[in-house]
Symmetry: none
Subunit: 233 residues, 4 copies
Amino acid sequence: MPPQPIPAVQAHRYDWPMSAPAPSARRASSRGRIDKRQAILQAAFTVFAAQGYELTSVQEIAAEANVAKATVYSHLDDKEQLFRQTMATVAEAVLADSLAAVDRLRAVGDDLRAVWEDVADELVRVCCDERARALRSLAYAQVARFPDLIADVQGRTSVRLAEALADRIARLSLSGRIRPADPTCAAEQFLALLTGPIETRSRMGTREIPAEELLVVSRSAVDTFLRAYAADS
Amino acid sequence: MPPQPIPAVQAHRYDWPMSAPAPSARRASSRGRIDKRQAILQAAFTVFAAQGYELTSVQEIAAEANVAKATVYSHLDDKEQLFRQTMATVAEAVLADSLAAVDRLRAVGDDLRAVWEDVADELVRVCCDERARALRSLAYAQVARFPDLIADVQGRTSVRLAEALADRIARLSLSGRIRPADPTCAAEQFLALLTGPIETRSRMGTREIPAEELLVVSRSAVDTFLRAYAADS
Amino acid sequence: MPPQPIPAVQAHRYDWPMSAPAPSARRASSRGRIDKRQAILQAAFTVFAAQGYELTSVQEIAAEANVAKATVYSHLDDKEQLFRQTMATVAEAVLADSLAAVDRLRAVGDDLRAVWEDVADELVRVCCDERARALRSLAYAQVARFPDLIADVQGRTSVRLAEALADRIARLSLSGRIRPADPTCAAEQFLALLTGPIETRSRMGTREIPAEELLVVSRSAVDTFLRAYAADS
Amino acid sequence: MPPQPIPAVQAHRYDWPMSAPAPSARRASSRGRIDKRQAILQAAFTVFAAQGYELTSVQEIAAEANVAKATVYSHLDDKEQLFRQTMATVAEAVLADSLAAVDRLRAVGDDLRAVWEDVADELVRVCCDERARALRSLAYAQVARFPDLIADVQGRTSVRLAEALADRIARLSLSGRIRPADPTCAAEQFLALLTGPIETRSRMGTREIPAEELLVVSRSAVDTFLRAYAADS
DNA sequence: AATGAATGAGCTTTCATTCAT
DNA sequence: AATGAATGAAAGCTCATTCAT
């Protein structure tokens, strides 16, 4: 009888691009080791996202990554480090996508509303993304166990996102498209108008939000935001 | 040597009023049993709030409630029910406070802004309340384990709160103080403007928000809300 | 929430006649107490028989007897005494029935075989009786826990039955119907021929033996017994 | 201070030969694992036999096998499987011995009685064997908890033994040494004549039967059996 | 470097038993 | 006498982690 035949977890699998070093820079064996570490981290996020931190055993992660349990420990110190590394890696990836959405505000044409709607739609897409939702959910869930982790994850995501958005708003303010106001506060409110209703309506990810409902939320957010912050034309 | 000398948990203690039946309605012994059940639920919330569901052992709850572990099991079926009952009870209490805040919108005087600021301040107080924060946090954290619980808790708190708020907004709309708009959407946005920034700034409750910062958030929320929804005077 | 609402056990219920004292000999209240003790013992045997000693909780017995758990303890010292008393009481009842069957050998007519077949059938009936089977089964099952109990139960049943049977055989031997042989040994063998195959075929009571199969066993036992022990006519 | 200093169980220790695979067929490490599994099963039988299923804790089995409790669980799924595997393994071993005894009937010389006495003595030896007794006793005792186990154990022991014996009787019948009769019934009765009195006299294993008493039982069984079944010479 | 095997520590849950009313 | 309530003690089981191969 094989000792622990853990079945593979039924869940989304998350693969993300790594900032891969140049292939020639490292020997093949070293490369293989990095690949395995990579595989373990991805497996870890897949399983953590599906089951949460506590309900996930290291055994399950090892099975998902097709390695032995001890191999996981040879790459990451313990379950805590495994979790932290996983979260950091995913947070980085989510942030990149979010920033890309905000960057669309760098080129604002005549139609101010159109651009904001575009950004809002894109951010909604990122917010509803399984990966982003799982990331937030995991971070929130572990506040009691790893109180510092939340700052870390939020620092890498919401905060930097809000800052980037505030930058755009400041520029729009200078160019007279947005009325004079604290850009940080405005950015914070825009994100709140967008994500707040979505979190509520999705019941923290346990309910699927229909596309048209998402659109309503997105449009309403932009509408309220522009009513409050658009410069009087 | 007592076998399990669990030290008392260092944490806030939460006592909430129960909808107490008339004292004469029950015999003393029955009353005593209810009191003990009450004590167990309060102890449970105290410890759960401080440590989270998984890190909390039933033993610790028993110690906090000054009863034997088996006594806990004689009142609540198992750890899961203990958690659910605790959450339900606290959610009810939080909801009552929130609704009281919103009720202030029933009597709106000349100064529309003044009333909304009053409501906002009161809701912020409830939002930053340790008890409410812990409730949300615990619910979020257990999405993976008890997916239905989140709907239950949100149903008893955010959703009913938003409905009550929407009712007020609808009346204000009819009386011409708020411009015609979907009251549900408006209520949802008002709450998002209030709680979103607070959750972010408090780092999900791991950081204390200074009073003046809270005031800024509250005032900004009202300002944006009224800019977007106040009837053109 | 009532603490332990144990559902009644789905099982045969065993009521047996008690050697009732004369009604006038005791006060009514005392009579009630005896009745309750009686009810507890019967309930105990019902539940023990259905579930075995270990899987039966005192709570279940109390529920079956419609009394509180503590009441059981006020009548019987502890679970062990409860079990022993129950077993002794039932053993007495079973023995009475068995002895009645053997008594039919007191009046042997011309047809020796007919009488033995009658006795065999009657004993088979007692052997397959749920009550007798449960008694043996419970005693066997607790050899490890109560090693002396088995002697007690066997002493009150098989041994005294074998003795009674040996008495009859001795008389038949004297009267020339049975060949000279050790009556004890003969009695023992007759019972073995009867009960051995039945225990095996019933898989210790887990399988129902069809009536015709029982008849075969019974007839075969008598046949073999008479071939070995009937006097040469 | 070790937390669980379980003392070793005072009891017979049962080692039985395993159908060992060729040593070269497996790697040393795998061999080691099998050895340990073997040790655990033997320890389990030792402790189960001494204390019964319910009074035996997995902890005690682990101690007897000189492994940690968790190691037991890594080899066998849970206490139930541990018990079933143990019983199956021992049943197989007991059966082998019993069949060997019956095989002596393949070569019947002139003296029919002598062969049967030889077989009877050998079977009595197997029946009184601590190991066989414990096996039956454990199976009987767990009828309530594992109703199917009894069929399994009896299937592997009594039933197959009776069949083998019936085969021999059939051949003896064909060769005219045993009178024409149902061989199955005859086999069943022979075993009943042998084991019935022994179980009764040994008080289900709680009393040691003196050697001369065993001889009486054995001789009487053969005598009665041959009187009933030997062909008229 | 990778892994099979083993383990220490801990947690949930049950239950016989006692005690105050 | 009867009972609701409370509890001490123990058992089954899991899992993160280590170590020899």
